[in-house]
């Protein structure tokens, strides 16, 4: 059980040019076990949104609720997958996955060793358990980072352009990996991306955001059958959805570019 709710959330920063409104009166609802993607041009506040949900930033006004509890600080109930892979360079893959489990906050998770072994298997990293992050490829690093977050069993997964730094082939493999994980775990997932194909391919629901100030522009239900396979990219329904999202995003991006 984990639903996410944004109630009239605004966020403004003070900068040299005065106050900048990054997000304006944003309302958002993500149901339990839903996989929602947020797509938008850079600067539309999508990362700010995720950062506040994670608890790294506080909203200027409004409330963010996870399971009806207001978010105040970062915590293990909300696992974050960063674009810049968060692995400790001095720890092996196995030790990285174990890192969260060894914290006092997660002492209640029993069978830590079994959890780590299972995650090593699930992520295909069992043979690389003793490697340091520097000795892994980008895709393996991100899988190790995902495993280290799954180890503490968060209620929701927040992913901030998790595959943005990967090459397109690896990215597509990682998308399938994520869908497979989600199929078995059924966690609530909120994923931010600027890749429209990725946003639709993964999502139950895609939120298109526009910038200056950031707000929800359109919410699109992605009624494509699951489980999904790569072939769906050439499906007419997929293409139709993609074009629709692209028109919205492009329109917004162009409007923004012209006003600047």
């Amino acid at each position: 059980m984990a639903k996410i709710e944004f109630r009239g959330v605004s966020k403004s920063y003070s900068s040299r040019n005065g106050n900048v409104l990054a997000l304006s009166k944003l309302d958002l609802h993500v149901a339990d076990e839903e996989l929602v993607t947020i797509v938008g041009a850079s600067g539309c506040g999508k990362s700010t949104l995720l950062s506040m949900l994670a608890g790294f930033d506080k909203p200027t006004t409004g409330q963010i609720l996870v399971d009806d509890c207001e978010v105040r600080e970062p915590g293990p109930d909300r696992g974050v997958i960063f674009q810049q892979t968060a692995l400790f360079p001095w720890l092996s893959v196995e030790q990285n996955i174990k890192f969260g489990l060894r914290l006092r906050a997660n002492a209640s998770i029993s069978n830590a060793d079994a959890v780590v072994q299972r995650l090593l298997q699930r992520t295909g990293l069992a043979a690389f358990r003793d490697r340091l992050p520097a000795e892994l490829s980008g895709g393996m690093r991100q899988r190790a980072a995902i495993a280290s977050v799954l180890a503490i069993n968060p209620k929701v997964l927040l992913m901030d352009e998790p595959f943005g730094a990967l090459d397109s082939l690896t990215r597509s493999v990682m998308q399938d990996f994520l869908l497979e994980l989600w199929d078995t775990d059924r966690k609530t997932v909120l994923l931010v991306t600027h890749d429209i194909d990725e946003a639709i391919y993964l999502a139950d629901k895609t939120i298109v955001m526009s910038g200056h100030p950031g707000r929800v522009c359109e919410v699109i239900d992605v009624k494509l059958p699951r489980p999904r396979h790569f072939d769906i990219h050439s499906d007419s329904k997929f293409i139709e959805l993609r074009d629709r999202v692209r028109d919205v995003v492009r329109g917004e991006a162009t409007a923004t570019a012209l006003t600047e």
Binding site: F82, Q84, L103, G139, Q142, V149, T170
Partner: protein, 296 residues
């Protein structure tokens, strides 16, 4: 099926670390002899030139004695078997021990204080503001300028020596520790907080370990400075140690003992540096090659 795809595409991308991290060696077969030659040639030429200028009388032997004579004196300093070093014969161990002991005592307190204060400054802007002006001003006073005050305050003995050495060791350590804390990848801090790390866990498991490479860079500089200052301190403040031996033999025109003392200091300093490097490489194996800093 999916994960099988994933790992196979990924296996191709992974190179063994020795290949990906180390540059390719130019010569595949490089015999130990050639290497020994490469290491030895320059010191050997230096010794030959030294021997030559004294042999041909370009420099007076009592100003710069030839290397073989210095070697003989050095041997007597250490063993006391030939009495060539006269009153200094066989005193080397006592002096070397005195200097080494002072270096490590001063280095110890300087580095300990430097790491603690460096961590605090790196972690807190308030602490930084509190200490910044003081540190920047004090840092620019050469430690040798502290000698008069140190002597007046501590008197003649070990105390002023250890004070000066520690002071010299403190500054590089505190600055590099601060830098190390600042350079930690902020994503790692965020990830730790997200996983529920408390302040103590964050400090000991992330910040301290993450700043170790930089701390070691500071410690290494501090060790070098400690050996410089032990000589200064022993020339002025105590009646033992290699710095004292050097200064005292200079007063008696024993330049052979002076040079043997200089070389002893150089060698002990070198050994100390090797010790720091050994510890660093042992503790920071993850940092030996190009460490992964969170970039993909």
């Amino acid at each position: 099926m999916l994960s099988a795809n994933g790992s196979s595409s990924v296996k191709l991308a992974v190179k063994p670390i020795s290949q990906s991290v180390m540059p390719a060696r130019k010569f595949a077969v490089e015999s130990i002899l050639i290497r020994a030659f490469q290491y030895g040639i320059f010191p050997l030429v230096l010794l030959i030139i030294w021997q030559a200028v004294t042999e041909f009388g370009w420099v007076k032997r009592n100003v710069i004695p030839p290397p073989l004579e210095v070697l003989a004196i050095w041997y007597d300093l250490i063993t006391g078997s030939t009495q060539e070093a006269a009153r200094y014969s066989g005193t080397w161990w006592d002096h070397a021990f005195a200097s080494t002991w002072r270096v490590y005592a001063g280095f110890g307190w300087g580095v300990a204080l430097g790491v603690i204060l460096g961590l605090l400054i790196g972690l807190s802007q308030v602490v930084e503001r509190m200490f910044d002006v003081t540190l920047q001003v004090l840092r620019n006073i050469p430690v040798t300028a502290w000698v008069p005050l140190a002597l007046v305050f501590f008197g003649i003995g070990n105390a002023p020596a250890i004070f000066l050495i520690g002071l010299g060791a403190f500054f590089p350590t505190v600055i590099n520790t601060t830098l190390g804390v600042r350079q930690i990848n902020p994503t790692l801090i965020k990830a730790s907080l997200m996983m529920g790390a408390n302040n103590h866990e964050l400090l000991t498991r992330v910040i301290l370990i993450g700043s170790l490479p930089s701390i070691f860079a500071g410690i290494r500089l501090s060790m070098g400075i400690a050996w410089v200052l032990v000589v200064v301190a022993e020339m002025l403040a105590v009646r033992s140690g290699l710095g004292y031996l050097l200064n005292d033999s200079y007063q008696f025109y024993r330049n052979d003992v002076v040079i043997a003392s200089m070389l002893s200091i150089g060698m002990l300093g070198y050994l100390s540096d090797r010790l720091v490097v050994f510890l660093r490489d042992h503790l920071l194996q993850w940092n030996l090659g190009e460490a992964f800093n969170g970039e993909n």
